[in-house]
């Protein structure tokens, strides 16, 4: 009876451990790319890069959609902190730098299909340099 009780407790503890969320590993990274909104750009519902999409990217960041850095090879890093700014939804600092080409140093935590980035230092901010409006107009409404 005692063995049964101990086995039951051990099974419960094992179940509890399995049910805990896995603690993701973090690593130090340097990421270079364009700040984009994490909906239009990922879903491809419109052309969503550079000058053509700047206004829409500003709308989305002001609306609280997460901002990501999109690298040249198409990877997305969802930004959850920029230096001392620990609010990351509709933060005016995030809104002001939409579409900028940046190079940042930060902590990367990957979990369940998302690369989350906590930026410790913005190393370079070139502003908006991806000139896409001549070909794509103003997305998505043309004004």
């Amino acid at each position: 009876m005692r063995n049964f009780a101990l086995s039951a407790i051990a099974a419960l503890l094992a179940g509890a451990v399995l049910a805990l969320p896995a603690r993701a590993q973090s690593s130090r990274v340097q990421v270079k790319g364009e700040l984009v909104d994490t909906w239009c750009s990922v879903t491809g519902i419109m052309f969503a890069q550079g000058t053509a999409h700047h206004q829409c990217a500003v709308w989305c960041a002001a609306g609280g959609i997460p901002v990501s850095i999109r690298t040249k090879d198409g990877a997305y890093y969802m930004v959850l902190r920029i230096e001392e700014q620990d609010s990351n939804a509709a933060n005016p600092r995030y809104v002001k730098i939409q579409s900028h080409e940046v190079n940042v140093d930060g902590e990367l935590i990957e979990r369940d299909g998302v690369k989350y980035l906590f930026v410790t230092k913005v190393l370079d901010d070139q502003g908006v340099v991806n000139m896409t409006h001549a070909e794509n107009g103003i997305q998505p409404f043309g004004n």
């Binding site: 206004q55 198409g74 609010s87 939804a89 935590i109 979990r111 998302v114 908006v128």
Partner: protein, 173 residues
């Protein structure tokens, strides 16, 4: 009068139906889903940096499922707006949402359309952003053109984000 009543019944069913299913958008990698999970502040879950009440609307939020899977919820049904204000009302509690799970190989994200706390409750459209914005700023056809921060940023740098670079004036007819 009867047709007006019928219209009201249909609208009520559309906005609070227990059998409502989310709309597909035809996005590559999308699945129409119902998800259940605890509302969490993503940065808090990943790093233990936890302001009160999931950041009170200033933090990106996600759903943490019973199996430990964390889903980043990035979009709601309001144009150009996220779902933070819908979710933060349930900080730390379990909710059901329906919407789109987009498992793009580059990043996995969720758009929610409707939300409820329990299965027996009717779905509610996730419109908190619009409701809160209008309460603070008044009615607007297009909130995103009237928002104070948007006006400041676009006013300073223009629609292309580059000072001095502007679209040509519309041609005279």
């Amino acid at each position: 009068m009867k047709s007006l009543f019928n219209f009201a019944v249909v609208m009520a069913a559309l906005t609070a139906s227990p059998v409502r299913a989310a709309d597909a958008w035809g996005i590559e990698h999308e699945k129409v889903v119902e998800l259940t999970g605890r509302v969490v502040d993503i940065a808090c879950t990943l790093k233990g940096d936890c302001p009160p009440n999931c950041g009170d609307g200033k933090r990106q939020l996600g759903l943490l499922a019973a199996d430990g899977k964390l889903r980043a919820v990035v979009k709601g049904p309001v144009d150009f707006a996220g779902p933070v204000r819908d979710l933060v009302a349930f900080c730390g509690r379990s909710v059901q949402v329906d919407g789109l799970l987009v498992e793009n190989p580059a990043i996995h994200i969720v758009q929610i359309q409707n939300i409820r706390e329990k299965a027996e409750q009717p779905w509610a459209r996730a419109l908190a952003f619009e409701i809160d914005w209008q309460a603070k700023n008044g009615k607007a056809e297009e909130w995103y053109r009237e928002d104070k921060v948007v006006k400041e940023v676009i006013g300073a740098d223009g629609v292309y984000g580059v000072k001095g670079l502007a679209p040509p004036p519309p041609e005279k007819k």
